[in-house]
Amino acid sequence: MSDPLDVGQWAKNWEAMARQAQATMSGNSAQPVWGNAAASPPSWFENMAQANSFSGGKQQSAAMEHLLAGAQGYLGMLQSLASGAMGQGASGFSNPFATAGFSGAFPPSAMSNPFGAAMRGFGNQGAVGFDQMMEQFSAAVGPMFDKAKGALHMPAFGHLREKQENLQKTAQVFIDYQEQSARYDRLMLKVGEKAFARFQLKLAEREEPGRQIDSARGLYDVWIDAAEEAYAEIALSEEFREVYGAVVDAQMRVRQQVQGEIEKFCNQLGMPTRSEVNSIGERLQALRREFREERESTGDHEGLQAEVAELRRELAALKSTRKETVKSAALLERAEPVKATKPAKSKKSAKLNKAAKSPKAVKASKAIKASKAKEAARVEVIAENKSTTKKTSRKKDSKVAPSHREKRRKSIASKSERKSVPITKSRAAKSKDAAGSGSFAASIARFARKSKTASVSGRSSGAKPIARKRGGSK
């Protein structure tokens, strides 16, 4: 059974660790910020680096060190092969795996597992010091993990309740992260094993003469291919998906917890915090969005003016088209026998023009045109028939036989009523007018007949024969 947790000591350790973490984050730490992912270079590599007199300038040296760190796998392999060649001669060297076994054929630097460093790298990117913070936490709290675990779920009470609960939560997220991180590392070890297995398979494929590997670089490239393939297989798996998500989430919880602690500390010192800046930023962005939306919806005069100008142009074009149509229709009607329909037509066209541009109006206008055209055709046919019997009988006809004229007009009106209501109404009205004028003309004719004097009508050469003819037909 483990000893009871010394909460006082634990809290002391935690506070010391938090101070160190703060120092690291503020850049005062003497430790490197990039963690310890890079393995120490092999001796051959060190000698080579020294031989190249890289100490010409600090910057160049750093650049070259980075380059060599990247190339260390290749250099290690080269070194290993060279050692094998020196010690065993060409015959033994051709298969370094035969004696040492595969895993011992190359030094760890040559085939270091880079995948283990992946999540450490993730932790360090963009949040300097996370790795160090975790190490410090392990050093401070690690020995008491077992005790801490048991105490983490104990209820907190008393005047330090909040503080104690917070400490428990902090410890819990750190422990969770370490557990998830360990799962991730185990998965990466699996990648390493698979990579070696795949490498062996690839080498076996190269045993045939002509396909053998004849350079260290060639061998290195085969190793890289094998490692990448093995990694891709795991990295695309559902297991990786779950482990990766869990370790990232765990890391975020640690960060959040630490940020919370720092914010509390800042609040006590009267310093602004990230949360406060975030609140202001969120409100500001919402305001900007609202302002822009408002401005665009109501204040975009330029766009509106352009739209109105375009609409006006369209309207003017429509009007001019309509006028032309009306003119041509008027010309057509002048050639027609029924003069009375003209003014009605123009009035209607004007009304229709005003009524505007809607598709319904356009349809209606088409219907009007069609009915007018039909009506005109009918009238023309009637007039033609008439003219075959007596070419000059139109006016006389209207005067001498008002009842026929009236009937015909009524018939036309009723026919067009079937086609189009607005037209027939006015036509019918006009037909009545026409009938009225017809009876007046008839009474004049009667008067003319009675007086039996054609001398009064001698002023108009047209009226006389009509009246005479009409009267004659009677």
Partner: protein, 354 residues
């Protein structure tokens, strides 16, 4: 017979050569000037917050009547499309007669922490498109979206189809749940809210680390072994360092936009499944009825080809063309094959739809 047939003499020769390259490399590295990038003259046509829209100047006036706006991803700097004279998508498009504009997002900081995808797509992109259209005196423009910028362009075009004449997407993910999408696999179970609430803006170094971990052996080791081989060649070394500059010169990611991109695109796969909402607007890819050219890279480790191919059939356009480029996510802009193949393909496609 074993798999190795390395002559000891050759081995020592190889080691010696490596050492010589390193020594010569030191001299070359000392003689190098600062790395420069971006080779084409450009003029600013619109600016808002940290965003700037540029119009590139070609040697002669553009023959294309419709301008093309490049919408780059937020996760890297857009000068990848105009890296250097012999590696420039922009330069080659200008040479073909296209009128090229580009959105430079700048480097978001804490003030941009609350920018949402709605702010980016219905705000910044919409206003940039309007600015380009106004500048060119046209009503509709061509949009060329790259990578994440391609996904944004799809959303924008679906919401504002009347503003886009032709849409071109390059290495653009549409289906985020293809089985070979490593980034998607990693983010699927992560708590996006916890992540963004904790770290706010996502640091560029963290993003870069994730990209490196997609191929850790190649990108952290093998690449630098290859670098030793070109250490004594100034021109090649400059090219290499320019690429390094671009790779690690990344902006931080605005927290809210990142949260939504992770949750709705990577986790929810809503771009293709539906249900994606940006502000007041629903994103329905069926609204994309204009001609679409989709170019993807066959060896893309960031956006697998299948993730791009999925566009076919989910958009409303009947004029859909796709081109599979033989190369990777970066090679599609900077390889010599890309210079030969990609800009003429884009130009020809646009010309047929001018």
């Amino acid at each position: 017979m074993g798999p190795l047939n390395i002559e000891p003499f050759k081995l020592f020769e190889e080691a010696q050569k490596f050492q010589k390259k390193m020594t010569a490399g030191m001299q070359v590295l000392r003689s190098l000037d600062d790395v420069e990038f971006g080779c084409t003259e450009k003029d600013e046509v619109y600016r808002e917050d940290k965003l700037v829209v540029y119009r590139y100047r070609g040697d002669s006036k553009p023959t294309a009547k419709t301008p093309t706006l490049i919408v780059y991803a937020l996760v890297n700097r857009p000068y990848m499309v105009d890296l250097q004279e012999d590696k420039s998508l922009v330069r080659n498009l200008l040479a073909q007669g296209e009128d090229v504009y580009l959105i430079d997002w700048g480097y978001p900081d804490l003030a941009d922490r609350w920018l949402t995808l709605d702010d980016y797509i219905n705000g910044y992109i919409r206003r940039s498109v309007d600015a380009v259209a106004k500048n060119a005196g046209v009503k509709k423009i061509n949009v060329l979206g790259i990578c994440q910028g391609g996904a944004f362009s799809l959303c924008f075009t679906a919401i504002h189809p009347h503003k886009v004449k032709n849409l071109i997407t390059m290495v653009t993910p549409v289906d985020f749940h293809t089985p070979d999408n490593m980034l998607s696999n990693w983010t699927r179970t992560m708590d996006a809210d916890l992540f963004v609430n904790t770290i706010g803006n996502v640091p560029a170094d963290l993003m870069n680390w994730c990209y490196l971990m997609l191929k850790p052996m190649r990108l952290l080791q093998q690449k630098y072994v290859g670098m030793v081989e070109i250490l004594d060649n100034k021109a090649e070394l400059e090219n290499f360092l320019r690429m390094e500059k671009w790779i690690f010169d990344s902006p931080d990611q605005a927290g809210e936009a990142f949260r939504q991109f992770m949750r709705d695109f990577y986790q929810g796969n809503k771009l293709i499944k539906g249900g994606l909402k940006l502000g007041k607007h629903e994103v329905d890819l069926k609204n994309i009825t204009m001609p679409v050219l989709n170019i993807f890279a066959e060896q893309d480790h960031l956006v697998p080809p299948d993730a791009s191919r999925a566009m076919q059939g989910v958009i409303g356009s009947k004029d859909y063309t796709q081109i599979a480029f033989k190369g990777g996510h970066i090679g599609i802009y900077v390889s010599s094959r890309a210079q030969r193949e990609v800009p003429p393909a884009i130009h020809d496609w646009l010309r047929a739809r001018a």
